[in-house]
Symmetry: none
Subunit: 79 residues, 5 copies
Amino acid sequence: MSALQLAASTGISGNLGAVAYGLAAIGPGVGIGLVFGHSIEAMARQPEAMPIIRQNMFLGFALCEVLALLGLVVPFIFS
Amino acid sequence: MSALQLAASTGISGNLGAVAYGLAAIGPGVGIGLVFGHSIEAMARQPEAMPIIRQNMFLGFALCEVLALLGLVVPFIFS
Amino acid sequence: MSALQLAASTGISGNLGAVAYGLAAIGPGVGIGLVFGHSIEAMARQPEAMPIIRQNMFLGFALCEVLALLGLVVPFIFS
Amino acid sequence: MSALQLAASTGISGNLGAVAYGLAAIGPGVGIGLVFGHSIEAMARQPEAMPIIRQNMFLGFALCEVLALLGLVVPFIFS
Amino acid sequence: MSALQLAASTGISGNLGAVAYGLAAIGPGVGIGLVFGHSIEAMARQPEAMPIIRQNMFLGFALCEVLALLGLVVPFIFS
């Protein structure tokens, strides 16, 4: 069997780092959705509390987002 | 068959540690979103209870985050 | 074909123990978020019940966390 | 080519039993969080029903936990 | 090169049956948590309906649990 034929036989290529980011994006994706969903419902019920809600909404968004961005950096640490 | 040719044939590369972090980030990502989402709704309804809410919100955030950061450290333990 | 050259050809490295911890951290991550999220909402509505809530909150947190920490220990059992 | 040299060449190591426990811990982790989260909210609203709530809370916790502990035992059955 | 030596050379060990149980336990773990969580909240609100709630709670628990126990038996069917 020549090497060229073997190459054609395993059709998958790529780096596990991309899979790692994909997995790390699942949780924050749901989490940010929960933060904004609850915030919007709270805003609609108490429009006068909007400044407090907005401030905490972006705080929650940022702290969720960090987990996904770490998933982008981590493959470089382990490579 | 030369080894170099075989190398080109298996296209996947990377370290399972990155995948492990990706998996460990799913749960805390959803968990932090739940903590902030419920906290924001509680703040909007009871603005006078904001100091208690905020204090417990950051407690919950920190205890969730720990699980994700452990996922960053664990691959070094098993390597 | 030398073995060393083959080693360079399979690009994935790492230990399944780290993946196992990553998987075991998903559930507790969501679970701790649920416990804290519901507790904070309960605290905001019934501030006078805070001692009971806090006591059960940490009970729930500890019993969730155990599952993740078991995931850290289990790979050593099976190795 | 000796087999020992090939062993060193595949970079993944570990036992699937640890992965099995990790998967089995996902569900109970979320489940225990749901049981405690709903119990704490019920306690805050009806503090006089606390003995009934606590009794059923620990019943639900135990029946969830069983699934995770089975995940610890199962790899020994199949090995 | 003998096949036996190659078997020893790949660093992963274990049986896929354990992984199958692990996957099968995810759903019931969450499901049992939902059944108990909602039942406890219903008990606290209508304590006089407790016999009916408990009876249906255990019915829901048993029908969830069956799926996880099937995951324990299925690998023997396919072996």
